[in-house]
């Protein structure tokens, strides 16, 4: 049985993640949520259920991380998916994986959220 210890994220790490989420929402105009904790056996179904509980699921991007099982899920809503396709999500996930592999849980989440927001923003148009 795993022994719980510590306090999870430090205050500075929480602040970094909150700041990254706020910046991502401003940049992309979508809602970003991050869940870190244990998941059910079917992690994809669990992540989609979490996503469905968000305030505006269609405009939301959920990042679910299970540090114990070392599983990472990203769920995009219907509208968010139009700007942030699955290939772009995979690119962000690859970046997060490399950061998680070196033990940087909070920094991996921050990098992933930043990357997702950058892809979700899309190219800037000069003429509307």
């Amino acid at each position: 049985m795993p022994v719980p210890g510590g306090e999870g994220f430090s205050a500075a790490e929480r602040q970094q993640i909150d700041k990254a989420i706020r910046a991502a929402e401003v940049e992309s105009r979508f809602e970003f949520s991050v869940y870190v904790g244990p998941a059910d056996e079917d992690t994809r179904d669990f992540a989609e259920r979490l996503h469905g509980e968000l305030v505006t699921p269609a405009r939301s991007v959920l990042v679910m991380v299970d540090p114990v099982a070392r599983i990472l899920e990203v769920v995009t809503g219907e509208q968010a998916r139009r700007e942030l396709d699955d290939n772009e999500v995979r690119l962000a996930i690859a970046e997060m994986q490399s950061e998680f592999a070196t033990g940087g849980l909070a920094s991996g989440i921050v990098r992933g959220v930043n990357r997702l927001a950058a892809h979700a923003r899309g190219p800037r148009t000069l003429h509307a």
């Binding site: 795993p2 719980p4 510590g6 430090s10 929402e25 469905g52 509980e53 269609a58 899920e73 990203v74």
Partner: protein, 141 residues
């Protein structure tokens, strides 16, 4: 083929400086004498000492051990205090097991920008979600 013969050329001492050879030989001796006179006069001046005025306090000097303790012990104490102030917080956090957040998240969860319901309510799975329109990706590390 010619034959080699020895040729002797007479040298005139100190012909270019124009000084007589006797004066040139005496110069090192004059320098050494000047230095010796300076050293002797300087040592005489160093030995001159005056008694402290009667109005001054006659404080006794500390022993060698006490002086060493003051000169070495106090700086070491300051270094130790600064070291403890810098590293003690992180050492205490490590002692509480905060180094690996994964162990903490085996039984706890944390939301950033999450739903208004609790994670336990979400995990109960009462609400069914329409999966068709959702996107995203999964991975392990």
């Amino acid at each position: 083929m010619g034959t080699l013969t020895t040729v002797t050329v007479p040298l005139q001492p100190d012909s270019q400086s124009g000084r007589p050879p006797v004066v040139a030989a005496r110069r090192p001796g004059l320098r050494a004498g000047a230095v010796s006179v300076g050293v002797v006069l300087g040592s005489w001046a160093a030995t001159a000492a005056a008694a402290p005025p009667d109005g001054w306090e006659h404080a006794s000097n500390d022993s060698m051990l006490v002086s060493l303790l003051k000169l070495v012990g106090i700086p070491l104490l300051v270094v130790a205090v600064v070291f403890l102030l810098v590293y003690l917080p992180s050492m205490m956090r490590r002692g509480r097991g905060g180094a690996d957040p994964a162990t903490y998240f085996s039984e706890h969860s944390e939301w950033f920008g999450g739903p208004r319901t609790t994670p336990e309510a979400v995990e109960s799975g009462t609400d069914q979600v329409e999966h068709k329109a959702l996107g995203g990706a999964s991975a392990r590390w």
